[in-house]
Symmetry: C2
């Protein structure tokens, strides 16, 4: 009464296991009648091929690992669903792992994925330095970095134009007459955090507006920091007339703070955020944001990985940069 194996099927159909294997894998070269008999046996026994055994001999699992730093940030699930859709189409399955921004957790997960012999890895690392990827590189497993680059190793990378997006956002504010523009930055040791600041600075520079230290605050990309820093901005003797928030979660925190402070969005303070958020159209007035093609990011990532996995392509690593888009709603008003 055990799970039926290929041997059970073979016996029942009066053929060898090799022949059964041939029909399971649609390799052809099996007589119609024989095939029919085998198919019938499979049906009768409810036989389901054992993928573990197959992986054992083929040395490939048709499984990829996905590592993201924060499941609670809706950005990542969206990217992941882009990856998964493409993966499923190609017959790949995914292990989705969350590091909570911890480099140690990332290290552990990497080991587990290696043990499980994933065929490839898509990662938004918690530590851009990248030493933790040494084992993966040793194992010669294809890797694609998403949203955050890896310093130590050359790997395929897919990013959005952070500098570009932040520049557009800041310029939008400037063109409306704002001069006292604050930025709530992400961690400056991460690519997105740093680059978005660069875009902000570049726009100010281009329009001859000095960067004021009090208006440049560093958060951690989490909601609470957005809230705290907005309050800090409010305390300033000379309040900014506009705020640029570097990511979605901090934007949510900002909104909560504005509400608590009764600091009137759109009237007393203009606002623009990096990344579109669910709440964007529920606050009043709706938020102008820099939006990223999140699903697309995931789709591109899988496609790059797929090429490496199948073609064993060992060419130069590629950097793919997608363009962000300014979605103008009503949270920015003429100054």
């Amino acid at each position: 009464m055990h799970k039926p194996t290929i041997e059970d099927v073979a016996k029942r159909a009066n053929v060898s296991i090799a022949t059964v294997s041939r029909v399971i894998n649609r390799q052809g070269g099996v007589r119609q009648k024989t095939e029919a008999r085998i198919l019938a046996a499979i049906e009768e026994l409810n036989y389901i091929p054992n993928a573990v055994a197959r992986s054992m001999v083929k040395k490939t699992t048709n499984t990829i690992g996905i590592i993201i730093p924060d499941v609670n940030n809706p950005f990542f699930p969206t990217v992941v669903s882009g990856i998964e859709q493409k993966a499923r189409e190609k017959g790949y399955f995914t292990f989705l792992c969350n590091t909570n921004e911890s480099a140690d957790t990332e290290r552990e997960l990497l080991t587990i994925l290696l043990e499980r012999s994933v065929d490839g890895l898509i990662i938004t690392t918690a530590d851009e330095a990248g030493d933790q990827l040494q084992t993966v590189m040793d194992a010669k497993i294809p890797v694609v970095a998403v949203d955050r680059a890896i310093k130590k190793f050359e790997v395929d990378t897919v990013l959005v134009g952070n500098v570009d997006g932040a520049y557009q956002a800041t310029r939008h504010l400037i063109l409306q007459g704002h001069k006292r523009i604050a930025i709530i930055c992400g961690p400056q040791n991460t690519t997105p955090g740093y680059e978005r600041f660069v875009g902000y600075k570049r726009a100010l520079d281009d329009y001859g507006i000095p960067v004021v230290q009090e208006y440049v605050l560093e958060g951690d990309f989490k909601e609470e920091s957005g809230r705290r820093l907005t309050k800090q901005l409010y305390q300033l003797p000379e309040r900014p007339t506009a705020i640029f928030s570097s990511n979605n979660l901090m934007t949510v925190g900002c909104m909560k703070a504005l509400y608590e402070l009764d600091w009137k969005l759109g009237e007393e303070v203009s606002f623009i955020g990096f990344d579109d958020v669910d709440i964007a159209t529920f606050v009043n007035p709706p938020l102008t944001v820099v939006s990223r093609p999140m699903r697309k990011l995931g789709e591109v990532a899988f496609e790059m990985l797929y090429e490496r996995m199948t073609e064993g392509w060992d060419g130069a690593k590629r950097h793919y940069v997608l363009s962000p888009e300014l979605k103008i709603r009503q949270s920015c008003r003429l100054k």
Copy 2:
């Protein structure tokens, strides 16, 4: 230059592979000195045990499958993170699969999970009848149903009190003096959809309020239906003074409709939703909701599954019902 195997380690440490296996699995009975030598070899070779090979002989993969119907509904990712945390603690890994409410997709996914020999399955099925689970039952894999029961088979089940929650919500509205209370139902062929309607009806009955057909609308648990049905309600010659929405996504749709219709929340129409939503505190006034212990749901589900997997416990199937909680904010006003 291939991936090092247990044999490479054995050679290097001058022992047999059996001994290496013993130390990898911490089975003891190996002399200190030998063990040290083996550990050193492992270290030097960067040896990582191959989980596929292990699964092959142990006939267990330490992997469970999770099937959910809709990744875009934030309810499920939250449940999933509850499952995953517990799973990780016990050394289990998860395959997360999304059916998009399609019974066919669910069938396919089930087959894949079976091929991959998952040790257990946690599922919120797209088809409560449950015929598609036949193969899983045949394979004698432990199953836990979450949020939706399975009719055809006895399996461990963890739910929240849908009737209870809907009853509380409706009563809350009634006690504020509302009599014209509309409900936006979920699909009546699903447990949550049906039970929530039952709770609504029971409350009306208990307080002697007749159920008016025009006020009972059936949506599909997706955002757009919430929006459409709210508009339908607005067209009624005698509009309801309160609306009860049966799930989070439809609540979002409702809010959009209210905004578009300029139907004043809290003033012209009171509102209460099943499930807490991110936007609940961003709309004005903030939404009163029935909230469910989502993470807990996942945690309980894994724990039940774990018992079955490890103890091979074959006792009676259990039904675990968690209690919902009314979170009173400000979207319901005295009539």
